[in-house]
Symmetry: C2
Subunit: 431 residues, 2 copies
């Protein structure tokens, strides 16, 4: 059903989901249900090894459900993103209803699944969906593991600057001079981008696929660098991994090796910054130039997510250049709203998510584990303190973005191993 909440259009669409039942104990063994987020479900499936490990231990079936408007689950095919009319059904509420109906369908159609308890599992936006799924459909899922789920990164629930200060701390801890080098780089770019030769120098130095032509392009360069530092903080995993990009172990430490001296001249500093971002974008050594319009894996549906950020998913963010290493920028809702209107003809409703999912007032719910990585900027908006006996926060001090959802690895820090053990322990209580 494309529209669960209205009856005028009775259209349906094909939703993609993946099932793995080799460990499943038929006749009511549990189901671990991955609440897909803003991207291709096969990619999440390949990066959520934790579920495979748990499947063995709990004799569980795995289901990975793709979120509508991402991957191959396009309600209107190629037309899905053509205008606000076609995008109208891209909301978290519709996605949760998809999940509820899908589970109902699976329980009816898979022999022996009728009474299987279902546990929702997700990370990041998918983690928010897992938590909200348990809140809104407790009759469908007995519990939820919400990994790195910033359910409080809305309204005024948390300070808008914490996110960037966590990124900054990651860099500060990963090498002397590192965060200062980045903080100084913005002015260096500003200085150089004031002249045409400077812009050309920047284009060459950063091996940009399309050269910078004016100050606006220079602003894009700075945004792209910011995104890069953020992404590095998110995927600062303790081993070689390939999530947003192929990267070595502890990639923030690796890039910080290029950023030891913040007092260098503009050009020398920026040459070092290039070395750093080149490690992120070109670890394989195959890129002939760097593309400022591409910061992470293509498996993420940026267009769809941008629409969601323009409607429900309004997450206030700000920097001050003091508690963080970024250029100071206040949270500007008006600018966002105007941009959304220009792009999609929609205006965001920043308070709706709070009205819908309760903001901080969620204590009457039950059976949700919120896990957060201490290195993960998204922990800024996460639930990091227990709310009740059955709304539990697990902190992983050495963890980046939902590290706990990844496969077991010999290089895993102790904290993530313990977190996983605890998560499994709660799951056993629920089923």
């Amino acid at each position: 059903q494309i529209d669960h909440f209205g009856f005028d259009e009775n259209l349906t669409f094909q939703q993609r989901y993946l099932i793995a039942d080799q460990h499943w104990k038929k006749d009511n063994g549990p189901i671990l249900f991955y609440t897909g987020n803003e991207g291709d479900i096969t990619w999440f499936c390949n990066n959520t090894g934790f579920m495979w490990d748990v499947a063995e231990e709990l004799n569980a079936m795995l289901v990975f459900a793709e979120h509508r408007y991402y991957g191959e689950s396009l309600p209107f095919g190629n037309e899905s993103f053509s205008d606000s009319k076609h995008l109208n059904y891209l909301t978290s509420e519709q996605a949760l209803a998809d999940f509820a109906v899908l589970i109902e369908y699976l329980k009816t159609n898979i022999a022996g699944a009728r009474n299987s308890p279902v546990i929702a599992i997700g990370g990041s936006y998918g983690g928010m969906l897992a938590a909200w799924f348990r809140m809104k459909y407790p009759h469908v899922v007995v519990g939820a593991l919400a990994a790195s789920a910033p359910i409080w990164q809305f309204g005024d629930l948390v300070p808008c600057g914490t996110y960037f200060s966590i990124v900054t701390n990651d860099f500060k801890k990963s090498g002397i001079g590192c965060s200062e080098s980045i903080r100084n780089s913005w002015n260096a770019i500003n200085n150089l981008s004031s002249t045409d030769t400077g812009l050309q120098w920047l284009s060459n130095t950063f091996h940009l696929c399309s050269p910078l032509k004016n100050l606006q392009d220079a602003a894009i360069l700075k945004n792209w660098l910011s995104e890069t530092w953020i992404n590095l903080a998110m995927v600062n995993y303790p081993y070689k991994a390939d999530f947003l990009q192929p990267l070595p172990a502890w990639p923030v430490q690796e890039v910080c090796k290029f950023l030891k001296d913040p007092s260098l001249s503009d050009k020398l500093l920026l040459q070092n910054v290039f070395q750093a971002v080149n490690l992120y974008y070109n670890y394989s050594g195959e890129a002939s130039c760097l593309d400022m319009y591409e910061t992470a894996t293509k498996n993420l549906g940026q267009l769809g997510w941008y629409y969601q950020a323009c409607t429900e998913m309004v997450m206030p963010m700000c920097t001050d250049g003091v508690n963080d290493m970024f250029e100071p920028q206040k949270w500007d809702f008006e600018a966002l709203s105007d941009e959304c209107y220009r792009l999609w003809g929609v205006r965001p409703r920043p308070s709706w998510i709070l009205s819908m999912y309760g903001g901080k007032n969620i204590s009457s719910h039950s059976n949700i584990v919120f896990s957060n990585g201490g290195l993960d900027p998204w922990s800024a908006g996460g639930v990091t303190q227990n709310i009740s006996d059955s709304l539990v926060a697990i902190m992983i001090p050495d963890g980046a973005h939902h590290l706990d959802l990844r496969s077991r690895n010999p290089l895993d820090p102790k904290s993530v191993q313990q977190a996983r053990d605890l998560e499994i322990c709660y799951m056993k209580q629920w089923i």
Copy 2:
């Protein structure tokens, strides 16, 4: 907001609500919030005296919120019912979102209300909304009183015939020969409506405003009579009242005085049936003729409710003529669906309410009191057994449709007094 769940149309509408704060203890005294149902809110306000009595006791503010598409809360004014496009936002989910946003608004805009605990109260469909409101928005309401709320009259959760057998029992208990007279009346009508003179005799005898012309009209007559018996069972209050129609105390007993002898000839039997329905439609003695197309107060929005029954609110009903006094009729979903498509261009989704609100699997929720009247046909789909310590069922054996929500009356049976005391006791625990 007309559409809470999409962003393509950013239209808003005026929702009507009534506030009474003369008993309210400013600075966080509780708010009793009536979740309006399918009708004019002023009428519900005038028939929910219980809330006024409780307001005094709890120093509470009263808010009566009108349901969208009823009374004066028409999203598109006169156009609201013009087609399925305009009707698309008439759903329980949108109505609940209206309530959540309204409470948020009131708390922000009424001085001293910011931290007031809110209790949802409703009867019948409004009672379902009160229960569902607590289930879906527990951060907005601390608890709910769901009076005569048939939340299980969906899918195959309860037998489709119980509703009519309760109606029948009311008549059976209210006078010897009463239910049998009604059971025999269908055949009497069938016999008479086979001839034109018979049809004319029926039209005259029942003082019909528009005479019967054929068998189809005779079927409408029978439907109208069925509706009348059902309504009488619903409003079988122990005192003179004016809910669906002005009526004496224990109106079923009153009409049964005309229906003592089921063995009479067709014509004599039907003359008695007329006397009975005439009491319902013409207690005031002012009606010059009876209108088969009008069975209850005009304060109910029949058109809107019919649309809801054609979309989400699919309540299977059936009769067998054995356990009930009606003509046997199986539940026919196909016929309903075709009729809905003919009328509105929509098809009902009978399983959606179960997916959305959990069917019988609601034990993880809390703080809901379900009250049911033993005389009320809607108790067939109600919660009549405790589900947990905080999902509580209260039975009122001598109560008709949400009798407990009405003002205190000297003629109230003991059972409703006790029910109200218990309801207030739970409310005190919640706030």
